[in-house]
């Protein structure tokens, strides 16, 4: 009897909470409807996703607004959030540092297209005061350091690559990202490609179970750990490392060359044959001058743009915006330490944009 009563009570509470939840949903639903009707002037677009893209996008969108009078509201909530927003159709486009997984693609109501929009790199920054020259690393050694197998800086494996360099006997302190991030995704994708042990023990993802080291929050958290801790090594975005003048290692690429990460070597990494769907990982690139830990970032849109009563005008404006981003918009990359797209990537992007349709008809002629 008592149990029945408590069940009835919890049921009642549930009903109340549920109805509150529904009303709040209804409220937000109305809110988003109001938003989209506000958007129905067709001169403002909503985007969400990758925080890596945000500084570049802010610059691009402000320039685009000046020239064309189209406002873009971009929310830098992380790639996963952007994909979710596009799946729920709360945004006009998403931006992601990783292509859609099969599960994510299945969750969407229609096929989405991936347009490469910029490229970035992940660099290995270190704090070894005794070391005068730039550290050189091979994929094998990077994987072993991050697996916790190489524990000292004067390990023969590191010493044999850096001949003549004076390496101290200090412990290696590995620093990695604690928050889920596209940076971690690029780095772990690279390690998964180049090292079998890493593939079986850890794998790839925006957050993984790190076998060694300490986690910092954001690029600044990892960078702070590296700067403060003698013997530390960690991975951060290239742009962040350049802006904060941090030391970073040359990494041996597939062709066997030790490449200094730079805007030029990242653009070179993207100078490969990109498949027609634009979905390619630049990690461990075949390009002989390319830096191996690079990655593309994509803008995601639905291929069929007629959904949720969107106006044809709006769909056209959005496709034109993306077209501008991969052509004229690229001039803003260099100043912000992003790598401009290679000509091959732009060509693939153009071809992909032509497949975007409104009510079955191509948007771009």
């Amino acid at each position: 009897m008592k149990i029945l009563k408590s069940i009835a009570l919890s049921g009642l509470a549930f009903a109340i909470a549920g109805s509150m939840f529904l009303t709040s949903c209804g409220g937000s639903g109305n809110g988003s409807k109001a938003d989209s009707s506000a958007n129905n002037d067709n001169n403002s677009l909503m985007g969400a996703g990758s925080s890596f893209d945000n500084p570049l996008f802010s610059k691009m969108f402000s320039e685009y607004d000046k020239a064309n009078g189209v406002k873009v509201n971009y929310q830098s909530i992380g790639s996963g959030g952007g994909i979710k927003g596009l799946t729920d159709k709360t945004v006009d486009f998403g931006a992601s540092d990783a292509p859609l997984t099969d599960d994510q693609a299945k969750a969407m109501s229609g096929p989405a297209i991936h347009i490469p929009v910029t490229a970035g790199a992940v660099v290995l920054s270190y704090n070894v005061p005794e070391l005068k020259d730039t550290l050189m690393l091979t994929p094998e050694v990077i994987a072993k350091i991050f697996l916790g197998d190489i524990k000292k800086w004067n390990d023969p494996a590191i010493q044999s690559i850096n001949k003549g360099a004076k390496l101290p006997a200090t412990d290696i302190v590995v620093a990695h990202r604690a928050d889920a991030s596209g940076t971690s995704n690029i780095f772990t994708t690279y390690l998964t490609k180049v090292n079998k042990d890493w593939e079986t023990k850890v794998g790839k993802g925006s957050s993984v179970s790190w076998p060694a080291g300490i986690g910092g929050k954001g690029n600044e958290g990892v960078a702070g750990t590296i700067k403060q801790t003698p013997g530390a090594i960690g991975y951060i975005e290239l742009a962040y490392a350049i802006q904060n003048t941090m030391a970073y290692a040359k990494v041996q690429n597939k062709a066997g060359k030790f490449i200094t990460p730079s805007i030029a070597s990242v653009t070179a990494a993207a100078d490969i044959d990109i498949p027609a769907d634009g979905k390619v990982s630049l990690t461990n690139t075949d390009a002989p001058e390319g830096y191996p830990i690079s990655g593309l970032s994509w803008v995601l849109i639905y291929q069929e743009q007629k959904y949720n009563n969107r106006a044809a005008d709006k769909a056209t404006k959005m496709v034109k915006l993306i077209q501008w981003m991969i052509h004229d918009g690229q001039q803003y990359s260099g100043a912000l330490n992003y790598a401009p797209l290679s000509a091959k990537a732009v060509a693939v992007g153009d071809a992909l944009l032509k497949t975007a349709t409104y009510d079955g008809k191509p948007i771009l002629q």
Binding site: I16, I77, G80, T101, A180, V208, G215, G224
Partner: protein, 330 residues
């Protein structure tokens, strides 16, 4: 119930309140009675006010229940597929979909209780100093405001200070005692947390100590007790439930703190082996991983972490309430 309240309002003897209709303005036949009539508007205002309070109170209850139900419902996928093993699993691997919350549970409890142990001597000292020795004067005002300011500083600032100042100090301390010298870890985050939670126990303790009746203390002094003896055998026994409530408040703050902890704890999902090793807390795992948790089961495992944190907090609060009531009944 409602009518009886109204009657009471109607028949309450007149007071000098200006809102009451003056009896001289009433018709003759009413004059001379001891009862004063409230206007309908006054009665309605009373009822509306009382109902508003009831509704606000109910909303609070529904809100907490709603949060709990949301947590339970959203963590259902993870509860179903992982079961109770979730609580004692030691591996947290989003890539392979293995979720065990034990390292984070241990991390949360270890940091919070260690922080509490470090903070109690300070908060009780401040409370006794301000409550008993120097309740007035410029220095006690300064100390009181400073301690209260500690609670007002945003936690990200503590995190930043911890990262820039505390971690290097802890690192050199650790290497001098031969522990692993990273600086980040449970010990650093407990130190940060200890500073952050001092004001809660200190302010409550201070006001409790100031409320000890003077005649009790005077009695003790009259019997020849020294100040220390008065504190030990009159003030502390009299205020222990209040002091304990302050400690409980501090603990609640420590359990839920996210930002400052995540910046100095090292964020590793491995079981902590000592207080100097790195670790992670439930709150900081949620904050770090929820934004990109795109798989249903991953998302749900993180929400279940929130549910566990919620239940731990509720359990500690209930135990605390029991302890307080036992103290008071003595």
């Amino acid at each position: 119930m409602a009518t009886s309240v109204n009657n009471e309002l109607l028949t309450r003897p007149d007071t000098t309140s200006g809102r009451v209709i003056s009896s001289s303005k009433l018709p003759d036949e009413v004059k001379g009675t001891t009862r004063v009539r409230r206007s309908h508007r006054q009665i309605r205002t009373e009822n509306v006010f009382r109902r508003t309070l009831t509704i606000v109170g109910l909303v609070m209850v529904v809100l907490v229940l709603g949060i709990m139900i949301t947590l339970v419902v959203q963590s259902m996928p993870s509860i179903r597929s992982l079961g109770a093993a979730y609580l004692w699993g030691k591996t947290w691997d989003p890539v392979k979909d293995v979720y065990g919350a034990l390292p984070f549970l241990i991390g949360t409890i270890l940091t919070s209780f260690l922080a509490l142990a470090i903070s109690i001597p300070f908060s009780f000292s401040v409370a006794i100093f301000l409550g008993e020795y120097y309740p007035k004067g410029w220095f006690s005002d300064l100390l009181k405001n400073t301690v209260e300011l500690i609670a007002a500083v945003p936690s990200v600032i503590y995190g930043f200070w911890g990262l820039a100042v505390l971690v290097p100090i802890v690192r050199s301390f650790e290497s001098s005692i031969g522990a692993n010298s990273i600086g980040y870890g449970i010990f650093s985050s407990s130190l940060i947390l200890a500073v952050m939670i001092i004001p809660y126990a200190a302010s409550l303790g201070r006001s409790m100590i100031q409320m000890v009746p003077a005649n009790l203390k005077e009695g003790a002094y009259a019997l020849g007790a020294t100040r220390w003896e008065v504190i030990r055998s009159v003030i502390l026994p009299y205020t222990k439930s209040g002091l304990f409530a302050g400690v409980l408040l501090s603990l609640g703050r420590a359990l839920g703190e996210t930002m400052a902890v995540t910046m100095v704890i090292g964020n590793t999902s491995i079981m902590p082996t000592s207080i100097f090793s790195t670790g992670n807390t439930m709150a900081s795992v949620i904050a770090n991983e929820l934004p990109e948790a795109d798989k249903t089961i991953y998302n749900s495992a993180l929400i279940e972490l929130g549910l566990v944190l919620f239940l731990v907090t509720v359990a500690i609060n209930m135990i605390g309430k029991r302890v307080i009531s036992r103290f008071t009944n003595e």
